[in-house]
Each structure stands twice: as structure tokens, then as C-alpha cells.
């Protein structure tokens, strides 16, 4: 035996470690990732596709999905624009406290989402630091779609910035200087020279932000009020239906969210070359 295996390895190029290690990896991922995901699909469609479709098209379900998309969209818009601006300022100017600002922008990723939601409540809630002055004016920020957007902005704050800033940092200043000497205004330079180089970073930053915002649960459950048909996002809907024992209803939305994140990550993964195209 001791002579046979080495011979097999070398002569036929067969390495036992290779299939063993790959098999091991897949086996480990099975209960951790594959099976949970698979079971959503198996369970969700076990009662037939028409049941699944009915659960999906229930008005509250549709509303929850729409609300999630809309609030995530606006949070993404804001964070991408803000990320662009912040990346521009922080990579083009050097000033006292610059690093402190960079750390602060990146901080929200490290804060538990429930804490983020709670913090927002303490600020904007009817008895909050700012909210108590707004409430008498009839302005309510919390327990609205706006609150969900605020929460989404908070938890996804550094994502777009984190993708865009490195590109800004590595971008040669001479490109912008060249554009200026050719006769372009700052705006023309930004539009024709800087922005095209950032296209990939903007798209991937936006997708990341959006994917993260759509799935946000911890902060939204605190600030939204979780009112079905009014302030209930898709993840809250799943949680609510599950608590009510309506597993099929929860499952239908879960499938949609899972597919949706597959889609976004496929784009991020396979369109990498396109996003960074020269």
C-alpha cells in the first residue's frame, strides 16, 4: 500500500486530498447554509405552487415587499450620494480630524442594529431629544416609512462610502488636473472624468447597500411600529406571520427575499469585469 498510493498520485496525477477536501467543504456547508436555504424552497412550495402564489399576492405581503423596496431604494440613493460626497471630501482634502471622521462614518456597521433603532427612537421619538419639539407641531418621524428609511440609512451608512473611497484614493490626481488644463470646469471634470472611473464602485456600492437595507430587521422593528399594511417591511412581515403561525405566508416572502439576494450577489460577482471595465 505504502508504495501504491504515491505511485498513483504521481503517475496518474491523482491527489486524494483534492476530492476529500472539496467534499469536506461541501459537507460542512450543508447544514450551515445549503439545507436552511433549500428548506425555504421545499417547504414554501410543498403545498403546491398555487398556495405559494396566493400567499405571495396577499395584499399585506405585496405591501410589505413594496415598502421594503421603496424604503431601501431611498436609503440607497441617499447613501450612494452621501458616500460619493464623503469619499470625495475625505480623499481630496487632508485636515485635522479626518481620520476621526472616517472612523465615525464606518462605525454604524459595528453597532448592533437594535441599538441603532433604539438610538433613533431616543432622538426622534415623541419623547426624544428632537422629537419632543416636533411632536407638538404635529410632525411625527418615528413609526412611519420615513423612520424606516432613517433606520436603513443608519445601518447601511458606510457601505457605499467604503466601496467608493478606495477608488477615489487610487485615482490619479493628474487625470483631474489634465482635464482642468484642457479647459474643463470642475463640474465637467467630475462628470466626464471622475464619475466614469467611479461607475463600477457606485454600482457595487449601491447593490450592497440595497441588499443590506432590504433585509434590515433589528432597527426597523423598533422604529417602524410594525403596523401591517402601513409600516411593515418584508422581514417584519416574515416575523409577524411566523409568530401568528402562518408559516406559508412567511415562507413565500422568505423565498422572494432569498431569490432577490441571490440576484444581487450574482450581479456583483459576475458583472465584476463589466463594472471595472476600462
Amino acid at each position: 500500500m505504502s508504495t501504491v498510493i504515491p505511485t498513483m498520485r504521481h503517475v496518474r496525477g491523482f491527489d486524494v486530498v483534492r476530492p476529500l477536501s472539496i467534499g469536506m467543504l461541501v459537507f460542512m456547508m450543508l447544514p450551515l447554509v445549503f439545507l436552511p436555504l433549500l428548506s425555504i424552497f421545499i417547504f414554501g412550495t410543498s403545498n403546491g405552487l398555487d398556495k405559494f402564489w396566493a400567499a405571495l399576492t396577499a395584499p399585506e405581503a405585496v405591501f410589505a415587499l413594496k415598502l421594503s423596496m421603496a424604503t431601501s431604494f431611498w436609503a440607497t440613493m441617499f447613501n450612494v450620494l452621501f458616500g460619493l460626497f464623503a469619499a470625495y471630501v475625505l480623499s481630496r482634502h487632508n485636515f485635522w480630524g479626518r481620520n476621526a471622521l472616517i472612523v465615525t462614518i464606518s462605525l454604524p456597521t459595528a453597532i448592533p442594529t437594535a441599538v441603532a433603532g433604539f438610538a433613533l427612537l431616543l432622538l426622534w421619538g415623541p419623547y426624544g431629544t428632537l422629537g419632543r419639539f416636533l411632536a407638538p407641531q404635529g410632525i411625527q418621524v418615528m413609526f412611519t416609512a420615513g423612520a424606516i428609511i432613517l433606520a436603513n440609512i443608519f445601518v447601511t451608512f458606510p457601505l457605499a462610502f467604503g466601496v467608493i473611497k478606495p477608488v477615489f484614493d487610487t485615482m490619479s490626481r493628474s487625470l483631474e488636473e489634465a482635464s482642468a488644463t484642457i479647459g474643463a470646469t470642475r463640474w465637467q471634470t467630475f462628470w466626464h472624468v471622475t464619475l466614469p472611473s467611479l461607475r463600477g464602485a457606485i454600482v457595487s456600492g449601491a447593490l450592497l447597500t440595497f441588499a443590506r437595507a432590504v433585509g434590515e430587521f433589528g432597527s426597523t422593528i423598533l422604529v417602524s411600529g410594525n403596523l401591517a399594511g402601513h409600516t411593515q417591511t418584508a422581514p417584519l412581515y416574515i416575523f409577524a406571520k411566523f409568530n401568528e403561525g402562518q408559516i406559508e405566508a412567511a415562507n413565500a416572502i422568505a423565498i422572494v427575499l432569498a431569490l432577490f439576494s441571490f440576484l444581487i450577489f450574482s450581479v456583483l460577482f459576475f458583472a465584476r469585469d463589466w463594472l471595472d471595465v476600462d
Binding site: S172, S174, P196, D278
Partner: protein, 398 residues
């Protein structure tokens, strides 16, 4: 050395300094500070219409800063920049109309070659037809017609540089500024491109300012060369003048090898030890008894095995051959001059290594080069004694 001499010959006809009407670009009394450090001090020069001026200096000499000040990418602390009679010191870069060819070329990576070239006209909102025609003309000029649809990353360094030049020519720049144009290229491409750019500049007749740290490049590219040292303009003149009549020791040593000997002025001649060299000196500048430096190139040294020195050559002293090295087209000889008599002006420590013995310190080393045929005729050997004479030299105040 031979090649360089040849190349200087070409420029022997001195270019007259620009008159007021010909001035394309003037830098007047420009100084610049970064914080408390002064990087440029009172720089003044003109570039004539169609002329190529090279700013030559080591890194940190401030040459890039001058370029950036002309381009409007940097503001001078004092002084003015004038382009074709118009003062532009206060204008932002985009209103100056200068063409900068960056060291990295700074081509826009997401635009094709033709988009890059047409950029200046597009942002000037020119008509499409006009843009197309200009771009076509320029593509022909820089011979990149077949590459028009390519992106910069698909081009070679030389091609990228041509795109960068065409991109600035599109909007008819007041002056072209080249920032270390051949820094990123290998030696062969560099030589080739230098010639190409010279030819191109003659064709388009746009004044140009090059910056470089490469003395050979400066001599070849420039109608005139300005030598910068630590923010000071040391000398400005034709390559011939700069090389053969350096105004300062820095210029002499920065442009190729130079031998320096100290001497004292006596009755309008130069004396060191027992040697006397007749020289046509300005009595105002060089009074009797002042210490001066005699600067001469290695190729200006003539060696003889006999005491006989050719007429017109100035005999210096006897010397011993210390080292002979063969450097391609010529032979380089290191010689130790024999001390003959007391030297008044020598400041020893400046020139000798402390490890030298006291004996060797009483000698001076010079370097001579001579072309191959001469070298093979003389058959010098290390340790041999020869008589050293110089064919031409420059006298500088000490």
C-alpha cells in the same frame, strides 16, 4: 562623448533671445514657498514662438513647480506668468489654454483615443463636424488612425504620449508643457520618441517647455536649456553655451563630467603652482589676486608623451596615469597631476577623501577622455608619465 559633440554641433547657430513681440511665454520674478520652505526664488525666463526650452534640474530643484505654476495648477508666491502678452497669473488652469503632457500622460481611461483627443473641443461645445475633422487631422498627424477606437490601456507608452500631445493640440494651446516626458520609458524608446517629438513640434510650431533631469535629453531637445538648482535659475542658454561655457560650477558639473582646478589671477593670466595660462579675462570681474576655478571637460584634455604641446593648447603639468577604462566610443583616463610649487587658492579638504594619504593629497586627479583612434595610437599604460594640456576651458569665480 563623440555623439554628444555631434549633437551640439547642430545647435551651434545660437538662437537669439526672444524679443518682446516674439515672446510666447514669460515667467517673471516667480517665487514659490510651501509652508516655510522656499522652492523657487525669483525665476525669470522667456520662451519664443516655436521655441523649445528645457528646464533641467535634479529632483527637488523646483522644475516641476515652475511647470505647474505656468499651467495654473499651482499659484506663485510672487511674480507673474504671461502667455502671448496676456497676464494669466490669477487665472485658473482651465482659462489659460496651455497644454500639459503629464508624465503619466493622464489619458482618460474610459474614453477611446478619439474621445480623448476630442475632449477639449467637446467641453468647448464645438460643432460635431468640426470636432470630427480636427480629431481626424490630429490622428493623422500623430499617426494613430488605426487606433482611434482603442482605449488608452490598449496602447504602448509612446502611442499614449502621442494621444496626450494630440489631445492638447486639439484646442491650439498657447504653449506645450512636458513633464518628464520620457521618464517612464526604456532607453531605446526614449531616444526614438525624442526625435519624433522634435519633428512634431517643428511641424506644429507651438512653443514648448520640457522638464527633465536627464542632461543628454536636455541638450538634444532644447533650443535653449535652463539649468535649475535648488529653486535658483543657474544659467539659461543654448545647449552649446550651457555645455561649453557654463556660468557656474553647478552647471559645469551637472551637464556631464567636468574637471575643476583652482588658480589665482596674476596679470590677466591664471596661475597655479608654476603653471601659467594666458587667458582673456574680464579685468572688472577677475581682479589680480582673486581665486578662480578653471573648468574643463574631459574631452578638452590633450595628453602627450613628450614635453611638446600643440600650439593653442595650454600646458598644465605633468601627470601620472592612474586608471584607464574603456567606455565604448572612447577611452577614459584618470590622471594624477604632479604638484609643482605652492598653490595659493587650493582648499584641500573639499577635493580629497580623508582616507587619502598626505602624500596623495598633494596631487589632484583629473579625468581625460579621448576617442578610440587616438587612444590606440598612444597606447597609454597605468603608471606612465604624460604631459597634460587643455584645449579649452572656462573660468569661474571661486
Amino acid at each position: 562623448m563623440k555623439a554628444k559633440e555631434k549633437l551640439i554641433e547642430e545647435h551651434k547657430v545660437p538662437v537669439p533671445p526672444p524679443t518682446a513681440s516674439q515672446k510666447a511665454t514669460s515667467v517673471v520674478g516667480v517665487s514659490k514657498r510651501f509652508g516655510k520652505t522656499s522652492v523657487l526664488e525669483d525665476i525669470t525666463f522667456d520662451v519664443a514662438e516655436g521655441e523649445a526650452l528645457v528646464l533641467l534640474g535634479a529632483s527637488g530643484s523646483g522644475k516641476t513647480t515652475i511647470l505647474r505654476i505656468i499651467a495654473g495648477l499651482e499659484q506663485p508666491y510672487t511674480g507673474k506668468v504671461i502667455l502671448h502678452g496676456r497676464e494669466v497669473t490669477e487665472l485658473p488652469a482651465r482659462e489659460r489654454g496651455v497644454g500639459v503632457i503629464f508624465q503619466s500622460y493622464a489619458l482618460f481611461p474610459k474614453m477611446t483615443v478619439e474621445k480623448n483627443i476630442g475632449y477639449g473641443l467637446r467641453i468647448r461645445k464645438r460643432k460635431r463636424k468640426e470636432i470630427r475633422e480636427t480629431v481626424n487631422e490630429l490622428l493623422t498627424l500623430v499617426q494613430l488612425e488605426e487606433h482611434r477606437k482603442k482605449y488608452p490601456s490598449q496602447l504602448s507608452g509612446g502611442q499614449q504620449q502621442r494621444v496626450a500631445i494630440a489631445r492638447t493640440l486639439a484646442y491650439k494651446p498657447e504653449v506645450l508643457l512636458f513633464d518628464e516626458p520620457f521618464g517612464a520609458l526604456d532607453t531605446q524608446t526614449r531616444h526614438h520618441l525624442r526625435r519624433e517629438i522634435r519633428a512634431l513640434l517643428r511641424k506644429v510650431n507651438v512653443p514648448a517647455i520640457f522638464i527633465t533631469h536627464d542632461q543628454e535629453e536636455a541638450l538634444e531637445l532644447g533650443d535653449r536649456v535652463a539649468v535649475l538648482n535648488k529653486g535658483h535659475l543657474e544659467q539659461i542658454g543654448t545647449p552649446y553655451e550651457i555645455y561649453n561655457r557654463p556660468a557656474t560650477e553647478y552647471v559645469a558639473t551637472f551637464l556631464g563630467a567636468a574637471n575643476i582646478l583652482e588658480a589665482v589671477v596674476r596679470k590677466s593670466a591664471l596661475e597655479f603652482g608654476k603653471t601659467r595660462i594666458a587667458a582673456n579675462l574680464d579685468p572688472e570681474k577677475f581682479k589680480d589676486g582673486t581665486c578662480v576655478k578653471i573648468v574643463f571637460r574631459p574631452e578638452d584634455v590633450s595628453l602627450s608623451k613628450t614635453e611638446f604641446v600643440k600650439p593653442g593648447h595650454h600646458k598644465i603639468s605633468a601627470a601620472v596615469v592612474e586608471e584607464i577604462s574603456f567606455v565604448g566610443a572612447y577611452e577614459r583616463v584618470r590622471l594624477r597631476l604632479e604638484k609643482n610649487g605652492r598653490e595659493e587658492c587650493t582648499t584641500d579638504d573639499q577635493f580629497f577623501l580623508t582616507t587619502d594619504t598626505p602624500e596623495s593629497q598633494s596631487f589632484k586627479s583629473i579625468v581625460a577622455t579621448h576617442p578610440k583612434p587616438e587612444a590606440s595610437a598612444m597606447k597609454l599604460r597605468v603608471g606612465e608619465r604624460v604631459v597634460v594640456a587643455i584645449t579649452s576651458f572656462t573660468v569661474l569665480p571661486s
